[in-house]
Amino acid sequence: MACETRSIPSSRGSSNLTLTDDTSRAPGSPELSELPDDITVETEEGRRLAAQLADDRRHARRLLEVRDLSTHFFTRDGVVHAVDGVSFDLDYGETLGIVGESGSGKSVTALSLTRLVPDPPGRIVSGEIIFDGINILKLTGNEMRLLRGKKIGYIFQDPMTSLNPTLTIGYQIAESARVHLRLSRRAADERAAELLAKVGIPRARERMKDYPHQFSGGMRQRVMIAIALACDPMLLLADEPTTALDVTIQAQILELIRSLSSEFGTAVILITHDLGIAAGMCDRINVMYAGRIVETGKVDDIFEQPQMPYAWGLLDSLPRLDEEKGARLRTIEGMPPDLIDPADECRFSPRCRYARDICRQHEPNLTERQGEGHFARCHGTEPGGWIQ
């Protein structure tokens, strides 16, 4: 963690240390000239990023600091606050789960981190995303490509549609290495074959020439993982990586993500609606609801003493093995709220059976609870609240 950080940042003004660091291998240095052909670095932040790409060191206290991130979608019906003032941190090598229902803003948060939110209609309207000491919202779209695939790998939900049907598996894995590491075709293919073997595809070298339709769903997701890890990224974003797969394959894929991320020391943000998966994989969990983080903390704290009725609902709706046969699955009543112009109220209050007037008059803040880094957004469970 922090003790291993050699150059302390940076991001907020006091960038002296990093700057001197940069100037030591400044203009004309080989690292800078090894950028992909069509990426030109224009901004100050982009220059720092380009300089950082050359080494694998850590450049900040934390890998990721998200501050007050808001991503809105400008639709005909109004402005949808898909992500609304989200803040969280991620340490190097840490695994963070983001859980929540459909439409809670999990995926948009992940897309925002790589600035892949479809624009229009979406736009990151405010906030800061500091990735390894670089404020990525200051980068140009072109500079952003230096990060994507190189420092941030992305695994998409549906492996059936995320691979290009007309390109060979080998090409698609090698592509990232060719863009970022500027490897020759042969070297990139070599690397791709190694990766393919690493993600557990038998006869990897032969299968390089195959097309996606010759792979099963689980194997394609393995290929996606190989693509995401091709340049040894610092952060792996896995957006519901197992939702489209059947249960037995799920376990294999998750195990693969876990073992590879710990082998490479990659931090992981795992987005899922399945708390069971999050419990097995993550160090910490952010529970999201209606574009907000409503509870955050270590896995054990969230599971043992959840401090937000929504989190209880999520936990409650997990099916159990010791359940009576024929028992109904429990759900959270009601629907997630409309995110156009949310009012100043607890966004969960319409569905919350503990809600009182104050919940409908003021939105609670994230306040500290028992356990390290455990915060929840609920009037009722605050000290002196009426729940418990």
Binding site: G149, Y154, F156, S162, P165, T166, Y211, I227
Partner: protein, 315 residues
């Protein structure tokens, strides 16, 4: 298996199905379509004739066989008599040789027009689809205008306007005609490519490519266009008969090819003056046009079915 040394030997390579690619599958489907195969063979023959045919005939397309003509009382020699297999025209020129030279013109028209169509249609369609917004509107309105403009009028105007320039004289005055035909024909390609790319660019593999930092240009050329290649190939193949017909039409009304060269269209035009006396002068060029059109159409239909099996039977 254990060999003498007692070492385990790997079993003879595990039998695997040969990798099938999109193109391999399409090729196999194409082979099953008899009409398309016949069309394809004739197309290949036409191309071969266009390339080597004129070197094989004993008569040059513009050479007059005056003695033979005199023997026939200066009338067109009818077909299947003597050395002129398909007969001659009223000037004693060998019809078969002239048809073979006409095949050159028709195949060249097919080639150049489709190059122009691809060269304009694909970039315009791709840019409109990829960038969207105002550029899309602008480009599509331009294609609408070109689409609405009368093709023949445009081609005739262009050929007349450039008649005396270097450009107008290249390839016996044909280049300008070919380019003009291409300039009216690219709109369909632009619309096709735009439509294909519009749906493709929403696919997740495009987002996945973005997520690993692939540049926009590479996404369009490496990820999107190959996925649209099937429809593009079909459109090119099916566009060729249109181009051949357009050239023939123009030649028939006297635009484009200059005497003594003759395309199939101008052969028909010349022959129709003596339709009663020498019907073969119209019949054979018209047959040539028809065979070329039908072959390309069959081939194109077959390619469409082969490249997009979902469409089969629907069209």
């Amino acid at each position: 298996m254990v060999n003498q040394a007692g070492v385990l030997e790997a079993p003879a390579a595990v039998k695997t199905r040969k990798p099938t690619s999109l193109w391999g599958d399409a090729y196999r489907r194409l082979l099953k379509n008899r009409l398309a195969i016949v069309g394809g063979i004739i197309v290949i023959l036409l191309i071969l004739i266009a390339i080597v045919g004129p070197y094989l005939t004993p008569f040059e397309y513009r050479a007059q066989d005056l003695p033979a003509l005199a023997q026939n009382r200066n009338r067109p020699i009818p077909p299947f008599q003597g050395p002129h297999i398909l007969g001659t025209d009223g000037l004693g020129r060998d019809l078969l040789s002239r048809l073979m030279d006409g095949a050159r013109i028709s195949m060249t028209v097919a080639l150049i027009v489709q190059i122009v169509v691809l060269g304009i249609g694909v970039p315009v369609g791709a840019a409109a689809a990829w960038f969207g917004g105002r550029l899309d509107t602008l480009l599509m309105r331009i294609t609408d205008i070109v689409y609405a403009f009368p093709d023949l009028l445009f081609i005739i105007l262009l050929s007349v306007a450039f008649r005396d320039t270097f450009f107008g004289k290249a390839i016996d005055g044909l280049l300008i005609v070919f380019v003009a035909i291409g300039l009216t024909a690219w709109v369909t390609m632009a619309r096709l490519v735009r439509g294909q790319l519009l749906s493709l660019k929403e696919s997740e593999f495009v987002e996945a490519a973005r997520a690993i930092g692939v540049s926009d240009r590479k996404i369009v050329t490496r990820h999107l266009l190959p996925n649209a290649l099937g429809p593009i190939i079909v459109a090119v193949t099916l566009g060729i008969p249109g181009a051949i017909l357009a050239e023939a039409t123009l030649a028939f009304i006297g635009v484009g090819v200059q005497a003594p060269r003759a395309s199939w269209g101008s052969l028909v035009a010349d022959g129709q003056r003596s339709l009663q006396a020498a019907p073969h002068l119209v019949l054979f060029p018209a047959l040539a046009v028809a065979i070329a059109l039908i072959s390309f159409t069959f081939l194109g239909d077959g390619l469409r079915d082969a490249l997009d099996p979902k469409l089969k039977g629907k069209q």
